[in-house]
């Protein structure tokens, strides 16, 4: 209840600095929308770089051995004379 002799001053409503509720909500939407864009952008970049990495041939791949030789075998090592000098260069 208002006291006699005192002037009633209405309380400030809504956001300060002269911003109306509508403007405040507009700003908030923009801000949230911007963050969403950043999130979407970074997701796209991450995805693209992952795909690029996947698609780029690796420079170092350790090959697994194949147990069977596709050509002919002339017996186990040591069964021939290794003491002879090779005919190949190097």
């Amino acid at each position: 209840m208002m006291q006699k002799g005192k002037i009633w001053v209405p309380a400030k409503r809504g956001p300060s600095n002269g911003v109306t509720r509508r403007k405040f909500i507009q700003k908030l939407t923009l801000l949230l929308g911007g963050a969403g864009l950043i999130k979407a952008g970074s997701a796209i970049i991450t995805g693209t770089s992952w795909l690029a990495k996947k698609a780029t041939p690796r420079k170092f791949v350790w090959a697994l051995r194949l147990k069977k030789y596709p050509g002919s075998l002339s017996g186990p090592a040591g069964s021939q004379d290794v003491s002879k000098q090779s005919k190949w260069s190097g």
């Binding site: 030789y69 075998l73 040591g78 290794v82 003491s83 000098q85 190949w88």
Partner: protein
């Protein structure tokens, strides 16, 4: 870059894509297994006068028109003959043969990388030294990993021109230069071979440029071998390299500041010997003493004392024991 389709092999003929998994068909299957004089690699500054157990499998990642070993380097594994020799057996064979070192050579150890790597690792544990004879056409990461177990390498610097690397070898120059620099920086003993092919890379300016590059990037102490070409494979129309061309090349390389320059594949009076590059203060002149006298792959005399010149005491680049 070599993209291998499913069921197909790559450029080197020895790696196959089986259901998306890369397989090497030559692991443990050398096509050549012999004991050579180490001078044949050629390595002149690494355990001179010793025998070295040398292996190769078929295949190569380069396709040099002048390849001296094209019968194995350009062969398909299915058309070739090999022996079964896994790393453990190879190291045991090296011990039985009383060889101090093992060479991965003839074709290119980069092709049988996994076999080389596993054997070299095992050999190191057994106190056997590992030697690569390679064209050095490899990426940095696998090269670094392999070098951890390598003691010495002779690396080809075939041309000092990217165009010639592309036209003659189906390769490029830069990776080879990078491999050379990395090998030297890793601390292993490095010797360089340049095969001089008449009309292709025998001009004085080409020799000078190559020598300058070696001196600037690998150091003047790096041994450089100029090898004579013999008409082979797809270059039978060119003549063999003359002794005169090789001697001129040697003179140019020495004048550019390289300490140890050799001539190979052709008999030469001085081009096979090692001379001291030091300064003799007593005589107040360049030492130039004969340190190792060679004839072909034979050592006629070795005057080194603990890796030093017996006259001026200069330390000679190399691994001598």
């Amino acid at each position: 870059m070599c993209l291998i389709e499913p069921g197909q092999s790559g450029e080197c003929r020895v790696r196959i894509n089986i259901d998306g998994v890369l397989r090497t068909v030559v692991y443990g299957f050398p096509c050549s297994l012999n004991i050579d004089p180490i001078e044949k690699k050629p390595l002149f500054h690494f355990l001179p006068g010793t025998g070295i157990l040398s292996i190769a499998t078929v295949g190569c990642n380069l396709h040099c028109l002048n390849c001296q070993n094209w019968e194995i380097s350009q062969a398909n594994p299915e058309d070739s003959q090999a022996v079964f020799c896994p790393p453990e057996r190879l190291v045991a064979l090296c011990r039985e043969s009383r060889c101090l070192s093992l060479a991965y050579t003839y074709t290119d150890p980069i092709i049988y990388y996994e076999y080389t790597y596993d054997t070299a690792k095992l050999a190191r544990q057994e106190g056997i030294r590992n030697v690569l004879v390679t064209a050095g056409y490899i990426n940095e990461e696998p090269w670094r990993r392999l070098l951890e177990y390598i003691d010495a390498a002779n690396i080809d610097l075939k041309f000092i021109s990217d165009d010639l690397y592309q036209r003659i070898c189906s390769g490029t120059l830069e990776p080879v230069q990078e491999a050379l620099v990395l090998a030297k920086a890793s601390g292993i003993l490095v010797e360089v071979t340049n095969l001089i092919i008449p009309t292709l890379n025998d001009k004085d300016e080409q020799i000078r440029e190559l020598s300058r590059w070696v001196k600037a990037n690998l150091g003047g102490e790096t041994p450089l071998h100029f090898s004579g070409f013999t008409p082979r494979h797809k270059m039978q129309h060119l003549p063999p390299t003359s002794l005169e061309t090789l001697e001129t090349a040697r003179e140019i390389a020495v004048s550019e500041g390289l300490d140890y320059v050799y001539i190979g594949n052709v008999r030469s009076k001085e081009g096979e010997n090692t001379y001291c590059p030091g300064w003799d203060p007593a005589k107040r002149q360049d030492c130039k003493s004969l340190l190792i006298e060679r004839k072909g792959y034979f050592i006629l005399q070795n005057r080194l004392k603990d890796g030093r010149c017996p006259d001026c005491n200069k330390e000679i680049y190399g691994v001598w024991k």
